[in-house]
Amino acid sequence: MEFISSLWYAVPETLRIVIVILLQIVAVVIPLILTVAYTTYAERKVIGFMQGRMGPNRVGPRGLLQPFADTVKLLLKEVIIPTKSDRYLFLLAPILALAPAFSAWVVIPFSENMVLADINAGLLFILALSSLGVYGIIIAGWASNSKYSMLSAMRIGAQMVSYEIAMGFALGGVLIASNSLNLNDIVRAQSGSIFSWFAWPLFGLFIVYFISGVAETNRAPFDVAEGESEIVAGFHVEYSGIAFALFFLAEYANMIMISALTSIMFLGGWLSPFQGLDFLINIPVIGLFFGNGIHWLALKIAFFLLLYLWFRATFPRYRYDQIMRLGWKVLIPVTFVWIFFEIIAVALGWQPWL
């Protein structure tokens, strides 16, 4: 033990910072990738259940190893680069899609003290990074040199820029209610009981945020960017093998991200819904479950992920102009009105969340 610690202090300080940061990143990214893998499995199982099918059940017990089989398959497949495409941008695009989806996780508070970077502009950081995700897709669409990809890139660009506005306003409402840009402070501002969660006073913003989150991640019913019946597979139609898998990974990482953010902003993040019910929390072992902690965040994320899958199995795809109308003429006015009344409430000192 002493040998290890002496070895550790022999490393130059700059290098030590880098090593610690890298290890922290690994500690977040590996569970994230595993979650993505099992979200794809859950998606196939859940939608299979809703449609009266079995879903994957061949690889491993109950098909539990299916995600790994898929990963191995995608890793072994050839990455085909179209002849007339822009070679460098074609390969850069998946990375540009993936990087913001992963890096936004540094500011997510997993529990009271489990957060990589506890910065005081966390909310802005999230907004900034989610606005960067669009580049990977636009560049993929352009670099593929395919009409379908280009059409998809155009659609998705307009869609993401539009829904970001509604999303930003919804977050503005949270900001007014919590008085802070720091995500952990936002969670703490909701402590008390289940009724202090922002989902109740900001119910409209909560709904708007999740709807625009679904649109922002291009999931059904807003998946015009990959509308199979219209433009084959959209921006990633020319991608194969691991390059395609990276887009897939980015999409699911973004889904989990939106679910995590919705839980943190509106459903109290790692706060337990049984908060304030001390007789439950004081039970010796089961009390740990009823207390605050990362498991509540995980459960809330799982709930929103289920909603994602449920939407996909339920709703038919929106038409492009209907998406634009919903974003600009319905969601944004709703946020305007809600924030207006929220500001009046704050000015009058009437704060139900306190």
């Binding site: 941008l89 950081f125 669009v134 636009i138």
Partner: protein, 199 residues
């Protein structure tokens, strides 16, 4: 030490990206270099602890303005430009470049930015940049801020009005959808069952 390494790295990337904007032959590459330049610029601002400004720069310029910019460039389908008339424009170019360099040297003299004249303010570790900026904007600079907001609103309305295309008077009104009407449609409005003898 660590910060200095980061500083030099970002500065190098920034300079290369800025050169790339001018040098790249493909306009899409130019636009992408510009995005990279903005992005590394924000990293430098973050090192100076101006996190609100840095993130606002990403949100506004990288997240919105450059997306639209890139769109336009991709839609225009510009061909890769050949360098022609390089010698012809060289004297003018050199003149302008020399002028800009001279002016920058005059403005950015070391004496103007001496670390003795501008001592870094002693701020506590938990200083909140966004809060300080907000307090200034909404108290001291409230009127300029609101006037700027109104000017922007006017610009938005003007942009919408300019692109709002009215059809000819002969043609009915501009073709728009009335979603309420569409939703309220009944079977009787669309389907007519006709009873007739088979022939």
């Amino acid at each position: 030490m660590f910060e200095q390494i980061l500083f030099y790295w970002f500065t190098a990337v920034l300079l290369l990206a800025a050169i790339g904007v001018v040098v790249a032959r493909n306009p899409v590459y130019s636009a992408l270099s510009l995005i990279l330049a903005f992005f590394t610029m924000t990293a430098l601002w973050l090192l100076m602890e101006a996190e609100f400004l840095a993130i606002a720069l990403i949100l506004v310029y990288v997240g919105a303005v450059m997306v639209l910019f890139l769109f336009v460039i991709m839609m225009l389908d510009l061909k890769i430009v050949e360098r022609e008339g390089f010698i012809r424009y060289l004297p003018i170019g050199l003149g302008v470049a020399g002028m800009v360099a001279l002016e920058m040297i005059m403005v950015l003299q070391r004496s103007n930015f001496d670390s003795e004249r501008y001592v870094a303010p002693d701020i506590p570790a938990d200083f909140n940049n966004a809060e300080a900026l907000g307090e200034l904007l909404y108290t001291h600079y409230l009127y300029p801020f609101e006037i700027a907001a109104v000017v922007l609103l006017v610009a938005v309305i003007a942009a919408i009005l300019l692109t709002l295309r009215k059809r000819d008077a002969a043609d009915q009104a501009a073709k728009t959808q009335d979603i309420d009407q569409q939703v309220r449609v009944k079977r009787e409005d669309r389907v007519r069952l006709v009873k007739m003898k088979s022939e």
